[in-house]
């Protein structure tokens, strides 16, 4: 991983939460270009809050968030839109958009006041359509798509936005195993081949272990971060869930239900 030593995202001593209520504190991690990073943890531990904070939707309580050598709060929404794109859990407000229209909206940060697409924009849109196998569906309306297809469209839109960092909130929910793997594989390819830094929250710990370059475990204490294999060796997954119900098998990297 010594291709580019540049950190896209650096988080140090960050606390997140709402107003006076702290959800999680002392979060530290760095991400380089081209890394796929999963954020795991039990429900309510602050995965989405972290993502919303990184995405600029809510302010951090304390600490430093540095995106491309610049503090996150120094970005305006216009400059941030060229550095960071998001895929949220909420569906698009209008499902009457076609696949191509929706992906084209990802080019808004670069288009003129009327949103006219130039050659570069069209190239990016086509590349996104191809990368997520959406070319045949380009003229379909979003309400005609399956959950898996719609999720691909939303990720393709983020790709078309052409930002160095992409944040995704639970991109694999509501999908079957095949489509979960498919979307994560596509994210991995996007990270490795296009040198995008991708951070996503997920409950698919076993898949994340297999596919991610880095994993951040939100456990409410020291939030371990690192290479999945290291984290397994350091037995960080063992304490993720109460051990009387599920146990982590360090050899196979999977969870077993206690009978």
């Amino acid at each position: 991983m010594a291709k580019t030593e540049k950190n896209i995202l650096s988080i140090s001593d960050v606390s997140i939460g709402y107003g006076t209520k702290t959800v999680a504190k002392n979060i530290n991690f760095d991400l380089e270009a081209g890394m796929l990073c999963g954020v795991v943890g039990v429900n309510g531990i602050g995965k989405s809050t972290l993502l919303r904070t990184l995405g600029g939707f809510q302010t951090k309580l304390s600490g430093d968030i540095i995106l491309n050598d610049k503090p996150l709060e120094k970005y305006t929404s216009a400059t941030l839109s060229k550095e960071l794109s998001v895929v949220l859990t909420e569906p698009p407000a209008s499902k009457n958009l076609t696949v191509q229209e929706l992906i084209a909206l990802g080019r808004q940060p670069y288009t003129n006041w009327l949103g006219t697409l130039n050659r570069e924009d069209k190239k990016q849109i086509q590349a996104s359509l191809d990368a997520f196998l959406l070319d045949e569906l380009r003229n379909n309306k979003c309400h005609e798509l399956s959950d898996g297809q719609l999720q691909r469209v939303l990720v393709a839109r983020a790709m078309a936005q052409d930002t160095s960092l992409i944040l995704l909130d639970e991109p694999t929910t509501h999908l079957d195993l095949y489509h979960k793997v498919q979307i994560l594989k596509m994210l991995q390819e996007l990270a490795h081949h296009k040198q995008k830094t991708i951070l996503f929250t997920t409950h698919e710990i076993e898949l994340a272990i297999q596919l991610c370059d880095r994993i951040l475990i939100l456990d409410g204490k020291d939030h371990p971060f690192g290479d999945p294999c290291q984290l397994i060796e350091q037995k960080h997954f063992d304490t993720l869930f109460p051990s009387e119900m599920v146990q982590f098998d360090n050899k196979t990297g999977t969870f077993k239900v206690n009978k």
Binding site: G55, G56, F57, S77, A78, T79, L80, S81, K82, L84, S85, V86, L88, E90, P92, A93, S94, K95, N96, L97, T98, Q100, E101, L102, A104, L105, G106, Q108, P109, T111, W113, L114, G115, L117, H143, Q161
Partner: protein
Amino acid sequence: MQGSRTYRFSFILMLLALLCSLLLNISSGSVTIPFPDTISTLLGETPEIASWEYIIWDYRVPKAFTSILVGAGLSLSGLLMQTLFRNPLAGPFVLGISSGASLGAAIILMGTSIFAGYASLSFLGDITLSIAASVGSFLVLLTVMIVAQRVKDTMALLIIGLMFGSITSAMVSVLAYFSSAEDLQRFNFWSFGSVGNLSINQLLLLGSIVTLGVLLSIASIKSLNAFLLGENYARSLGISLKKSRMTIIIATGLLAGGITAFAGPIAFVGLAVPHLTRQIFDTMEHKVLIPAVILYGAILMLLCDTLAQLPNSASVLPINAITSLVGAPVVIWLLVRKRKMMF
């Protein structure tokens, strides 16, 4: 998004339809003027009966252009609201914005005589009336917007709009109770809705207001498109939520308020036309939808006004009744046919 190239044919058809409905509108009325004579008068010739020239140029042409402005503006305000509230049932009437404008107008029409003892419908009076109606609709819109931030539910928003309608009409009733019979009658006539009787100056003023609203809408095309994804996505695309939301609200307030001031509260056009337009222009791109909705609204309003004239009869029906009779079934038909109305 795909350019408007694919829709060029539809646009040409609609322009033709607009021309036809304009001619139909001008050629019909309480006084029968043969169609060829209407055309020749419009082309600048003097008709055989001198009064025809007067009827066409001083009454029917201004009325037709008022219809165009009213239909286009209301439809556009409906489109803006449906996108802004992400709600297919939003429209100036449903969300209580027309009621807000009514309250503003009522205060001017009935209140001035209570408070000041006089009210003249001079040009200055028109400006006051349109400002009052615009401010009224703007305030209701702003309140609905604030409430909409708290309740995400589509239905709840509509009920809130309905409640605002009730509140404002209650206030209008109170005003009506204290005002003179003369003022009351004036307000009543206003509330029937009418596109006739506008002087050239009034027409120019209405035209400027609608133009301003249209220009603000055009300036908002990009943010309107981004709002189709939802506000969080719009923000992540670099849209300044506050600024663009405010621009859209001001545009809507000007359009709905200004039009309501001059033509009275006109129902259903704002709600129905955007949906009808999407039957022809199957896109969500506002670059296409804004001109399409303007054209469609103008055509529909011209046709409604032609109907209201009751050809060959001296009586004129309230335009509000006609648009409701046409608009309400359209909404029901859309709901039944598409089950879930999409925007």
